[in-house]
């Protein structure tokens, strides 16, 4: 026995070691590195934190948690919304509702909102109703999320918007267009409402000033700002601002409301009317433009003069004066004037501005000029400056036209002896500079059919699937039946035979469906390859040409320098 002791000990040690190794090898995720596990963490991931933007916008984590997000969109979000809705109807918590949907009636018995002395049958009836309601709501939310999941990935990489995906092919093409032609064709398909348009709308909505036709302006308005709606060169509505400073009038496009109006003059006047109805002490006439519906500034100012400042002895003669320049750095911008808790002046941060204020009985006004200061570092990007490839070529052509349109012969040189120096026709062509432009188009692969065509195999599959030529499908069924009926084993009953045929058909059907599915998936991959490979090859070729041209231009620059520095007569 002692002789076998080392062997026995060795076997035990080996078993123990391999057991530990197998245990350690049992990673919750078979081939991955994720350490997060459990439904709670999964829900935490997929809750409201993920979106197409967060998945694809970060270069270092591009595509991370794509599956979780799709699962969340298709399964979790509709379920959560439906459970939340049903839980509200049946006065249950979301966990209880979830359990009830899965068949539990315990939660219904425990529910205080359930009828007292509820029988088991009643509980099951309620559970069925609850589940039916859940299915109904879930179907609605399912449709909503399915549309998003189906549509978003097909267009988010090519809709001209970087916000939803981190990169965009239309944007890339726009950059190229800018470099080539210094102009960008507006992309309308798949593009959301632009920020500029959104700002313009909100600006117009908040605008307390009406078009200039309703604005009485006098010569006394030394400094004034007028805003008017016009039609731009492209036929679209535009807003122009006329800024009058002393005798100078500056016209500018209103692009963005840098000083958001939280509480407009119109609101103040409207409140004044509400608090002081027409005929009251502070508002005896009751007319004017302060009707609370956004009157224009001119009327508002006029109205203020007529109704308040002019009639109110306390306010008469108080002019709106500019704040001292020492306050400019800390002017207010968009702060609600009627907010008693707000400080009189709010720092503008990086910006600056000037503010003025006046206060009378029941009426106060603050006026601010906000200056937004941004430090813009010019970088060597495609959009910097107005230079473009077409522009450069046009300028080069223009310079050559000027150069070649004149004689190269010096003024004082004559053509023949004793002739005037102005006559050079006899040898005008002997000394000249000629530039030859040789057009050289980029050759492209004749593979357009591969780019735009379709995979013939997949098309054939679709054709066969759709039209079933030559009795496709029927033939297979007959063969199965014939085989089973012909080679029937002795003692087999009729029902066994039918079951056997049905099982065989089901098996064949499942196998065929699996094969078709796999084929479709393979075709998808093949189509993608057929599409992208020629495009990528052509772009690589084009890049190669640009590199070659770049080298040629470098040589040309050297030649130009030599020509220019060449001494006369040599």
């Amino acid at each position: 026995m002692k002789k076998f002791l080392p062997i026995i000990i060795g076997i035990f040690v080996g078993v123990a070691t391999s057991g530990v190794m197998i245990y350690l090898d049992k990673n919750p995720v078979a081939f991955g590195e994720e350490s997060v596990s459990g439904w709670e963490n999964y829900q935490a991931w997929t809750g409201e934190n993920l979106s197409w933007k967060t998945i694809f916008s970060n270069t270092s984590t591009t595509g991370k948690n794509l599956y979780m997000f799709v699962e969340s969109n298709l399964v979790v979000k509709p379920e959560k919304e439906a459970i939340r809705t049903v839980a509200g109807i049946y006065h249950l918590t979301e966990q209880e509702t979830d359990a009830a949907i899965k068949g539990s009636i315990t939660v219904l018995f425990n529910n205080t909102a359930s009828p007292k002395h509820m029988t088991t049958e009643q509980a099951y009836k309620m559970q069925r109703e609850l589940k039916a309601d859940y299915e109904s709501f879930k179907e609605l939310f399912d449709i909503q999320q399915e549309i998003d999941t189906a549509v978003a990935p097909t267009e988010m990489f090519a809709n001209g918007d970087l916000q939803d995906s981190g990169f965009d092919l239309i944007y890339d093409l726009n950059v190229m267009e800018k470099i080539l032609f210094n102009d960008v064709t507006d992309v309308t398909s798949g593009k959301p409402l632009t920020e500029a348009e959104g700002n313009m709308k909100s600006f117009l909505d908040a605008m307390p000033i009406s078009p200039p036709s309703a604005q009485p302006t006098t010569n006394n308005d030394k400094n004034a700002v007028k805003v008017k709606e016009t039609v731009g060169a492209d036929g679209k509505p535009a807003v122009k601002a006329e800024i009058k400073i002393a005798d100078k009038v500056i016209e500018a496009d209103v692009v963005e409301d840098v000083c958001p109006v939280n509480n407009t003059l119109a609101d103040s006047l409207g409140k004044f009317n509400d608090q002081n109805p027409p005929g009251s002490k502070n508002n005896p006439s009751g007319n004017g433009a302060n009707n609370g519906n956004g009157p224009n500034a001119g009327n508002g100012q006029q109205g203020a003069g007529d109704n308040n400042l002019g009639q109110n002895p306390d306010s008469a003669g108080k002019a709106v004066v500019a704040a001292p320049s020492s306050d400019w750095g800390g002017g207010f911008c968009g702060e609600a004037p009627d907010n008693p808790d707000a400080p009189a002046f709010v720092s503008l941060g990086d910006g600056g501005g000037a503010a003025a204020g006046a206060s009378t009985l029941g009426f106060s006004v603050k006026v601010a000029l906000c200056i937004k200061i941004e430090l813009i570092k010019e970088t060597a990007t495609a959009s910097s400056g107005t230079s473009c490839i077409q522009c450069e070529i046009a300028k080069i052509n223009e310079a050559f036209n000027k150069t070649l349109g004149h004689s190269m012969i010096p003024n004082k040189t004559t053509g023949n002896i004793m002739e005037s120096a102005t006559c050079k026709k006899s040898f005008g062509t002997m000394l000249d500079l000629k530039v030859h432009l040789v057009p050289n188009p980029l050759p492209a692969e004749p593979a357009d059919d591969l780019i735009f065509g379709k995979n013939i195999i997949s098309e054939w599959n679709k054709f066969v699937e759709r039209y079933k030529p030559y009795g496709y499908g029927k033939w297979d069924r007959d063969t199965t039946d014939d085989y089973a009926l012909t080679y029937v084993a002795p003692g087999t009953s009729g029902s066994d035979l039918i079951l056997s045929i049905e099982a065989s058909k089901a098996e064949n059907f499942a196998e065929a469906r699996d094969a078709v599915t796999a084929m479709n998936v393979a075709d998808e991959g093949t189509n993608m390859m057929l599409f992208s490979t020629p495009v990528l090859n052509q772009m690589r070729e084009m890049t190669g040409y640009f590199k070659a041209y770049k080298l040629m231009f470098e040589d040309t620059v050297l030649a130009c320098a030599k020509i220019q520095n060449k001494p006369c007569g040599q």
């Binding site: 590195e33 315990t106 998808e524």
Partner: protein, 234 residues
């Protein structure tokens, strides 16, 4: 002393042989199983989702890594393309051959190969769910069900509900897989083109700058050559 050392040596050798035999057998026959194949219903579903998420995370990370390094990515586009074309699938046993090519080359992250790996997981998943469906559901029995008579009635209802949930899970996990593969395929089409566009843009900018240098010289030509009169000429 020598005898004692000899016994220790024998023990170690036996221990090593046993370990290699057991662990080797495990890695050959058992380690191919995914974690979700050994669990109950809810755990299976959670682990399957994590498994699939990891698969797509790893694949997309690799796609980006290949494309961000042009010297590796664009020179080795085969890792981003399916190893087979349509004619390969049409051959006898072509489908299995192509699938095995993807399984043998885990670095290939083409949509096809990723779909093959995802399908492997999905098929094992629904197979395991099918196994669970064949069993009685004791997981969901609560206190209320325990009080019911007969208990078998409650167990039957719970089993039916669980099986119905599994049927729904099989269908929705298929939809999720399809949608994720669609998104992956779109990314695989768009992202390489985007990288190539970036390369074109970079060269276009250089091209434009070189043209600008030429223009800087050429624009001086009219004043240099037209009606040339120079005091330097003799």
């Amino acid at each position: 002393m020598l005898r004692f050392l000899k016994q220790i040596l024998v023990t170690l050798i036996i221990a090593m042989i046993t370990t290699v035999a057991i662990y080797g057998g495990y890695t050959i026959y058992a380690a191919d199983k995914y974690a979700f194949e050994d669990t109950t219903t809810s755990e299976t579903m959670d682990l399957y989702r994590e498994e699939m998420n990891t698969l797509f995370n790893d694949s997309l990370t690799q796609v980006v890594a290949i494309l961000v390094k042009p010297e590796e990515g664009l020179q080795s586009p085969n890792l981003l393309q399916s190893p087979c074309v349509a004619t390969d699938f049409a051959k006898d046993g072509g489908k299995e051959t192509c699938e095995n090519m993807c399984r043998d080359n885990p670095d290939n992250v083409s949509t096809y190969c990723v779909s093959v790996r995802a399908m492997d997981r999905y098929m094992k998943y629904i197979f395991h769910l099918g196994e669970i469906q064949g069993s009685v559901n004791f997981e969901s029995i609560g206190l209320a069900e325990m009080r019911l008579t007969p208990l078998t009635d409650a167990v039957y209802r719970l089993t039916l509900a669980r099986d119905s949930e599994i049927d729904a899970e099989i269908e929705r996990s298929r939809r999720v897989l399809e949608s994720t593969l669609t998104a992956y395929n779109e990314f695989m089409t768009a992202y390489p083109i985007h990288r190539q566009y970036q390369e074109v843009i970079k060269n276009l900018i250089k091209y434009k700058n070189k043209l600008k240098n030429i223009r800087d010289y050429v624009i001086q030509f009219p004043s240099t050559f037209i009606d040339t009169t120079s005091t330097k000429c003799s």
